[in-house]
Structure formats: C-alpha cells, structure tokens
Symmetry: C2
Subunit: 221 residues, 2 copies
Amino acid sequence: MTTEQQTHVPTQALRIVLVDDHAIVRHGLRSILERESDLEVVGEASTAAEAAAVVERTRPSIVLLDLKLSTAADTEGLDLCARLTQRHPDLAVLVLTTFLDDSLVVEAIQHGARGYVVKDVDTTELLRSIRAVARNESAFDSHAAAAMVRSMRVQPLRPKFTERELNVLQMLAHGLSNREIGGELYISETTVKFHVRNIMRKMDASSRAEVVYEASKLGVI
Amino acid sequence: MTTEQQTHVPTQALRIVLVDDHAIVRHGLRSILERESDLEVVGEASTAAEAAAVVERTRPSIVLLDLKLSTAADTEGLDLCARLTQRHPDLAVLVLTTFLDDSLVVEAIQHGARGYVVKDVDTTELLRSIRAVARNESAFDSHAAAAMVRSMRVQPLRPKFTERELNVLQMLAHGLSNREIGGELYISETTVKFHVRNIMRKMDASSRAEVVYEASKLGVI
DNA sequence: ACGGCACCTGTCCGATCGGACAGGGGGCGC
DNA sequence: GCGCCCCCTGTCCGATCGGACAGGTGCCGT
C-alpha cells in the first residue's frame, strides 16, 4: 500500500541471506536484489546446516528461505526456520517456495516465518514483501493468503484414527478387500468391516472408494 | 564423455529461448548462460502461447522449457513441447523442471523433448546438457535417467483410455458410485459398469478401490 | 472396583459391485 | 460395403460391501 513512502535511503542497506538448494534460483534472486540500492545480499546457502552457519556469521536482517531443501521432507526447512527465529528473534524469515501447500503455509508461520510467497510472484511483489518483513510486518502473496484462510476454517483435518484404524486405512487405501485386510492383520473379516465403518464415519465418506480418495488427498497413500 | 573436444569457438553462438513462468528462474538462467561466450539468450516466455510466438520470431536452436507452466496441468507444457518440435524438427527442447516425475520424463520424451534435467543440478552440468542437446545428442541428469530406467521396465504405463473412460475414471477416483457417475454423465448405470469394467481390465485392478489407488499413483486425482 | 476405550467377533439383510451373457448405434478407414 | 472401435443398454447372478443388531475381551485411569 505505502510502498513508496520510503524514498529516502534507509539508515543502512537490508542485509539478506538466500537459502535455496537451487543455484539457479539463488543466482536469479541475487541479480534481482542487487539492483536495489537498499538491499544487499550478504550470503547464500544451499543446505540447512550451511544456512545456520552463514546466518551466524553474517547476521542478516532477512533470510529468504526455500522450505524444500534437498529432495527430502519439508521438515528440514521448517526446523531451520524455527531454529533461526528462536536464536535471532529480530530476524525476518520470508519463505519463498515453489509450490503452494496449504498446510505448509500454516506450519511455516508456526515455525516463525514472517511471510510466505511463491516463486511465481512478479519482481516488484517480491521486493515489496522483503521490505515489509524487514519492517516487522507480514507478507503473503494472494495465493498464500488464500491458503491461510482455507487452513483456518475447515479443520477437523485428519480426524484422529486409532492404531488399528490406521493399519486398516493403509490397506484400504491400497485397494485391498475386507477379506484380504483381515488376512494381513490376522483378524476376521467382520472386524475389518467394523474398522472400515469407523473410518468411513470419521472421514464422512460413504464408500471405501471415497475413503481411498480422501486418503490420497491426505497423503496417506 | 567428450565434453572438452570443442575447445574452439563454434561457428556461432547457440541461440536460446527460456520458457518458465517464474521470472526469478528466468533471471537466474539468463545470468548463468550469458557468462558463456558460446551461448546467447534471445528470448523469454512465461506462457505456452507466448513461447510459441517467441520461438517463431527468434528461431532459436534451443528451448529451455519448464513443463509446469502456470498452476494448471502438465498438459500445457507437454503440448507446447510437441508443437515446437513438430514445427521445428531441428529445435532442441531441453526440459528443465523443478521436480522429478517419472511419468513426466517419459511423456516429455514422447512429446519431443531431447533432454530432461531438474533444476537442482549444478551449473556446469546444466551447461553440459545444453551443449549436448545442441549437438543433437540427449541429456539427462542422473535422477532423470534413473526415472527413465524405472519407467522403461515395468510399464504398460497408463494403458490408453478412451475419452469416456477418462471421464468415468475421474469420477471413480473421486469415490462416486456407479449410479452417481451415470447421473453426472447422463448415461445408465449399466453403461457406467461397462466402462468401469474396461478401466479395471486395463489397469489390472480387481476393485474400484484399487482403481482409485492406481489413479492416485498415476496422478489422475 | 468401576467405567471407558480400543479392539475383537458374530448374525442378518439390503444395496452395490464385479462379471458374463447378449445385444444396437455411429464413425472411420480400406 | 465391411470390419473395427467406441459408445450405449439391458438381464441375470454371485460376491462384496455398508450398516444395524448384539455381544466379549483386556488395558488404563480414577
């Protein structure tokens, strides 16, 4: 909104560290940011460990963080985010990631991120977001904001299953019949039906096929 | 293997067009490529339509293509790939995408791509791949190559469905019953069963739940 | 000791599904 | 025209599923 109010050069350039496992992306970001007189890229990192070290050394005011470090889980990026913001409460972490994942937006915030933008925002929007988080504000692009709203509302997400139900759900999701599941778990077909009915009730589904569909949405498969 | 044999400067710089919906990525690529004396970025595009026009105008020898254009399906990028390679048989399309999707590797090749690398390869590997496809060779990073091997073996991958079967498969995958599907498509329940049986036969599945499972693996959902 | 919970089992029944018949219609290539 | 394929429809039947009964066991916390 008031992006143009700071026409004066700030006391000092904003010191930025880039964390992304893609060298290409780091290059692109650097070339964009270094055109701005009030921004300065003081470090890069491609892994969580490296990032922690670089931040420790360069003491930036902003970290641009891609949560999808390595091919592994998002946990690594989220953990890094939490560690950085705990050790440096003034540090502004702006998550800059490729795809929009509703649950990831929420988790990022819970882990201390101050903003979340996807990489296909245009350049000016990115710069605006950077300056916003530097001012202790928050920054979300429209998609991420929408994801937040979605995540806020609905949630009885993943309605708590018992141990046994999770077993059954797994096999159910793989297309096994009640009889087959019973064979695998050494329980009677009747018992399987008992669990399946409870799963369907909790998922508000009305057929095993729908259960498989919901399971695939929830990433159970 | 023989990457160093062309120490002489080629007759002319390789003309390259970048196609990626992320401005950041285009920037990064451009800054990397323009450091090389034998490479020249002659155009950029962020959409399929734009890409077709830019290629028509600039006549590059290489297109670096991100298949995931927009948030939509991969179809757009694949279609573009097919169109480009059909109209310009000498054009080398190198797919440069973020994530590795086994089936996408195969489809990219079937749609005329000459190489497939994921964005987290290092810079030298990317340059090597670009020069390889320019020489009419192929280029796959190790992950993509592994994906190809995987895809080669087992596969009667995605066994060719008819139009109608794809409709039914969609709804099947969302957990609808035969009756409901019939209602949606304005056909009788019997006909739905006819299609469902054909789908199950083609997928080698023995229940609709298994179909949903397979569909989720194939990314139909 | 008692209630609560997760887990297990059975019977009975109507609805749905999976599969095998046996057809008819339209489009397309040879 | 003829064959081929896709699409549509019906009937009949056994298997499975979805759901409603009515139970029994063992663990845990109060």
